[in-house]
Subunit: 238 residues, 4 copies
């Protein structure tokens, strides 16, 4: 059993008719449904509308892997919530950052860089697997297509990924490191590019499979329940 919390700012879905129509339960509901295709996952959701963004100490303690979708509301996530998530990542909680989450406070905090990139709307994206044996690529073909996705373009101002799993090709002439793995403290972090609020990425079977694979991969190998591991505790005389 893997306990996933899907966090979503939940703004576009209330304002843009096409997003409402495509995601009647919000983008968090759509991601939760993709995970729910496998009974292994127990999924809950949380949004900006919830007290403390729905990410209380209690919720995070019960979360093995946190998914993060944000875009225009990054600044509305209080710093104390970001620090709480950061501490749980250090203590082993997995984190899957989707699409425009590249600019979230928590991702920038963990990377130590601004995580900027170039972008434009309306591309056809082809995702290539460059590390076929990686658990997140399990079951995937050599490459697959997303008919309509927002284009993200290099340079992507991240630290060199520890493992690069996917590369994106766009018919409009760009390329992007679209699947990047990091370890920070006891936690594993995966960034994945597809997942625009419009377009149809969320309904491409391979994308949904990748969300499930990523959740399995990011499941903690070791979790510090007491929040006092070396990635949290102050200096210690030995």
């Amino acid at each position: 059993m893997i306990r996933v919390t899907v966090w979503n700012e939940y703004i576009h879905e209330k304002e843009m008719p096409e997003v409402v129509a495509a995601h009647p339960n919000g983008l968090h509901g759509t991601i939760a449904a993709a995970l729910g295709e496998d009974a292994e996952f127990v999924v809950r959701t949380a949004t900006l509308d919830d007290p403390e963004c729905g990410l209380t100490e209690e919720v995070l303690r019960d979360t093995d892997v946190l998914f993060w979708w944000g875009h225009v509301g990054h600044d509305r996530v209080p710093d104390e919530v970001v620090e709480r998530v950061y501490t749980h990542v250090m203590c082993g909680m997995g984190l899957v950052v989707v699409h425009s989450g590249h600019h979230s406070k928590i991702f920038r905090r963990l990377m130590g860089t601004p995580c900027n990139l170039g972008w434009h709307d309306d591309s056809r994206e082809r995702v290539f697997v460059v590390n076929p044996a990686h658990p997140i690529a399990k079951g995937l073909p050599a490459h697959f297509e997303i008919p309509l996705e927002e284009c993200y373009s290099e340079p992507f101002s991240i630290p060199e990924p520890q493992e690069l799993v996917f590369l994106a090709w766009y018919n409009t002439g760009e390329v992007f490191r679209s699947g990047c793995c990091y370890r920070r403290g006891l936690g594993k972090i995966f960034y994945f590019q597809p997942g625009h609020e419009t377009g149809n990425s969320f309904f491409v079977p391979e994308v949904r499979m990748i969300y499930r694979n990523a959740a399995r991969w990011a499941f903690p190998d070791r979790r510090d329940e007491k929040l006092d591991c070396p990635w949290v505790a102050p200096l210690e005389q030995v």
Copy 2:
């Protein structure tokens, strides 16, 4: 010509007689002298006592590589100064973090982890070169000794180094990744363990040579003078 600014909190030297005696011009003066052994370096210093910590926009623009020594005064460095240094690292300025600087705001900010470690006083340290061809190891023997240094012990809660140059052995039974290289944005970052306020590391010739090698290595390959490179500028539509 390489323009180095050596930053030091400059606290111990005013309070501990033994440190005053060993470093009459402060630890910054001692590090500056080690760099000054080669005419290639133009060195200035800055401390907590200076307005804006001596790290104004103007000073940073004129700095190719910044050395950082801090210990008990980390919290006294204003966040806005940390952000200014961070921006210049993103734009190419090199950063050499010495010893207890592991816990400085700027190093933690760039690593995305707390950078904790274990420690105790009074060890004999032997530094091993594990990457002999690295520019920072230039001219060094396979290993060398520091008769008296503070012991730092694993686990060191940093991201996996992009290049590991040195490992430390301590006669008291510990081991440490004592020379670690990272790239963040356009800037290069080197962490080096030796450099305690007491002890004699600063006067070991190999340590002084490493400071000079590190300054040469961290010199920017590319510097963004306008502070608008992809590591700084906001999202851009392409």
Copy 3:
């Protein structure tokens, strides 16, 4: 179920009385017993004495993870056997290289470097966990001791490890990257320093636990049964 084949040159055990006494079933028997402490593993062994070193195509196809112990007999392993093992690693078979296996043909072949190191007999080794969340470190304390092991010393002429899990401290004054992870093709490779033919490493519980953890970690995420994956097949026009 994880199918492990433990390969051992099986020379010292027939010639050195102390090794015979400590390892009545050979070093392969001792390693097999360490794995066998968990019912998850189905273990077989193979040695230089077997036809084709016991590593026929059929055996390798039925092997999820191969352990390798060799020392004075490296050159007696035929190149064609080495190539067969290499092909299976490319196709996903895991490989755990123990101690003096650092100089085996297969490890050097996969690393692309000579894998030299310094050494001397009779040290007390303390193994530090530098990546506590790595699956191979599961269940381990921050560090543990091996009362009597051969000392291996840096520089170890390997490519920079993709993940460094353990560092060794020796009471005789050396340090060593003692637990190193690599991916080559679809296969995962782990090098682990402890495991000298004399001494008592094999009977230290943490060492035995690491062998089991390593076998679990190296289990293929993807296995190419047809031996025609991109890591084996010739150039292909797309």
Copy 4:
């Protein structure tokens, strides 16, 4: 002064009229001319036609950086020449592998993998800089185009690059890690995709600039003149 030897199999230029026309002095002559645009380089060439492939011990000792272009003649390079080059890379000589050199004996030997890939003729390639501060990207724009190049496609069966500098986008729908850095022993290795025998890559100014940048980057930080460094010498008791 950087002493470069450009090695080329020199087969197509004698058989294919279009290649003869474009490269009257052979591909080695064309690469040598690109390097020769900067007086810093002293360039010589060597081919399959020369005794010992022109890569005698004496030539390699006088070579700081070796360029390698091969395609249909890989198997005609004797193993002993490959081992000689390998030893010099271990001892610090730089190596720049161009285009179809991905399948050369020496590159495969150093990578420890088959270095396979997909391919087809006649693409328009756009090269993106993903690591703008890397010395090999010096002076380059964010991306540039090659009107006609052979397409190489992922998966490219190499070890994860230590530094990824360039990514290629092809108008025919593929993507490729086209600029990859490695360190092996004391030597630095750069693989660069553009450089097909037909097409016009060699005459694109940015490609020529990259050849020069790569030669500067691969210049040895440390060279072992005696060929007895830890990457060559046998086991040593310490």
